[in-house]
Amino acid sequence: MKKIATGNKAVAEAVKQVGPDVVAAYPITPQTEIVESIADYVTSGQLDSQYIPVESEHSAMAACIGASIADARTFTATSSQGLAYMHEMTNWAAGARLPIVMVNVNRSLGPGWNIWAEHTDAMQERDTGWLQVYVSTVQEAYDTTLMAFRIAEHNDVLLPVMINLDGFALSHIMQPLDTVEPGAFIPPIHLPNVVDTKNPHGYGTLTGPADYFRFRWEIEQSMRDATNVIKETHEDFSKYFGRTYGFTEEYKCGDADVIVVSLGTLGKEAEVAIDILREEGIKAGSMRLRWFRPFPDLDLAGKEVVVIDRDYSFGFGGVLAHSVRSKNLVEVFSVIAGLGGQEVTYDDIAEFVRNRRIGKEFWFGVNDRV
């Protein structure tokens, strides 16, 4: 069904169609519309879920963990401070191998109070064992939320998935949305090792170094296996619903000399910048990463690379720039832009490319000139 919706509403629609058993959530700007919509679906009978209105994000994730151990399909949504507050439990969810699906609406962390888009909140979760995907349009937010349940709950994965939406830049903008009936695309949930009083086990018991080490390795194995599951899910999604996704979204990369690498809505701005640059005779392309964990193989051989980070690791550099640099053994021009919701237009991105200085870092709006 075709309609117009915000990014937040698209997520809520997808959750309604997948039908989690338990949703535990706490409000936070700019995510609140998601949990408000879900509460409304539950109250009006459009969604048969247990909605647990917890008193904090720490408890939201803890309640999802408890429900998931009892064989529930679970969902929550958060942002920024809320994600940071639940950090102890995000580690727990992945370590316990629970396929919880969460939407994180990317927002900067205080102080000062700032509610606008930034990716540092999600980057601080990158080592927890969660799969991470970043989306750029309302339709992609919807489609990826559907796919996330199937990927997380796949027996080769059994890890939680975090879907990242840029605060306001995607959560609150309206775009066309085509909703679907997921049907057989989302199979019923069958988790192994659910709690059963007739077959009692300890969950998260004290664990010695040898077993703990093995469990960590098993998380990494599943993270690697997730690559195949994501690929199959993308292909199946395309067969069912006709929309095609990959680990990256590439725009005019084939013959490009210089490639702009980014995450989220900046990747859509970058596509417009590419067209402007090509009119000027600069053979540029855009490579927007969708999946950040597991981190995909990127085809950047022989290209000049400009990476835009909407995040920063103090004392080190842009997290995406570092990831691209170290995974591909390629030097990059690292642009830090858009922190705290700073406006970054396609003209700005074109300017980054024109003035690229490979091997350097540039803070947009702070350093006067590239």
């Binding site: 309640a63 009083t197 998260g204 018991t205």
Partner: protein, 295 residues
């Protein structure tokens, strides 16, 4: 009051766990599980019991134990309970948490779970300090007690968690003590007959923490009650009833010194602090006899 003969012979904790000799917590958990029976899931934050449950792949328990982060037990139990009720499973969900995991780091999650009407029993076993980490003060440590972080005796009074719980208006709440297993057994069974959140706060004497010989655990617990320092009661739909052992103790308490003197943690406590303790005990008795759950 149940007789010992009415308490089932089934055991749900294996013998020879790594709990300290004379551990009050072991007695409490033993009778809690006997009262709850096999269709029970225990949710447990970091605490002494979590430390002696066994090391993977072994467990000392014959009911499922879901370990949770320190401050998250009640929220984790909310998720389990919610899913069990949705699936129309009658499995009982019991949080079994220490005083640190209840009065301090777990307070917010517990308050939220009670306010939301979570269908579970929350048991706080209270040894009045962080035992697992080597006896640091907690919100439950009584005035004047020495811990490793209050070497001169705790200058503040014990937090009244029962009053905090009472403010959430649960259908049933009670206090108990490891030295009165029949009373504890009956209160657990009763708590599990209610829908919604219920709470039992159990005093758990601790030989290494309270610094008394291991064979004195039952005796120390009885002295806590007989001196009136610990009052056994239950509160059903707001009506507070003092339990039999405490009724007798309130009428004719043994001197407080008989409870304090055998415990190394109270060694050297000054007369002024003892006087404050006595005044607070008297006020507590007056209030509870009058049926007032909240000071």
């Amino acid at each position: 009051m149940n007789t010992i003969a009415e308490i089932p012979n089934e055991e749900y904790i294996l013998k020879c766990t790594s709990a300290c000799a004379g551990c009050g917590d072991m007695l409490i958990l033993r009778y809690v599980l006997k009262a709850a029976g096999p269709d029970t899931v225990i949710v447990m934050p970091a605490c002494c019991t979590a430390a002696f449950q066994g090391i993977y792949p072994k467990t000392a328990f014959s009911v499922p134990v879901v370990n949770s982060a320190f401050g998250a037990a009640a929220a984790c139990a909310s998720g389990l309970s919610s899913m069990f009720r949705a699936a129309e499973r009658k499995t009982k969900v019991i949080v079994y948490a220490g005083d640190g995991g209840t009065l301090d780091i777990g307070l917010q999650a517990m308050s939220g779970a009670f306010e939301r009407g979570t269908d579970f029993l929350y048991i706080c076993y209270d040894n009045e300090a962080y035992g697992n980490t080597g006896m640091q003060r907690s919100g439950a440590t009584p005035l004047g007690a020495k811990t490793t972080t209050t070497p001169a005796g705790k200058p503040e009074v014990k937090k009244d968690i029962d009053a905090i719980i009472a403010a959430h208006e649960p259908s049933f709440q009670a206090t108990a003590c490891s030295s009165y297993p029949q009373d504890l057994f009956r209160k657990v069974q009763k708590a599990l007959t209610f829908r919604g959140p219920t709470f039992i706060h159990v005093l758990s004497p601790c030989p290494p923490g309270w610094r008394y010989p291991t064979e004195k655990t039952v005796e120390i617990g009885r002295l806590a009650v007989k001196s009136g320092m610990w009052v056994l009661y239950e509160r059903e739909h707001g009506n507070l009833t003092i339990s039999a052992p405490s009724k007798a103790a309130i009428k004719k308490p043994v001197p407080l010194d008989e409870y304090l003197a055998p415990q190394g943690r109270f060694k050297g406590i000054d007369a002024k602090t003892v006087e404050i303790l006595k005044q607070r005990i008297a006020e507590n008795h007056r209030r509870l006899v009058a049926g007032e759950a909240v000071p």
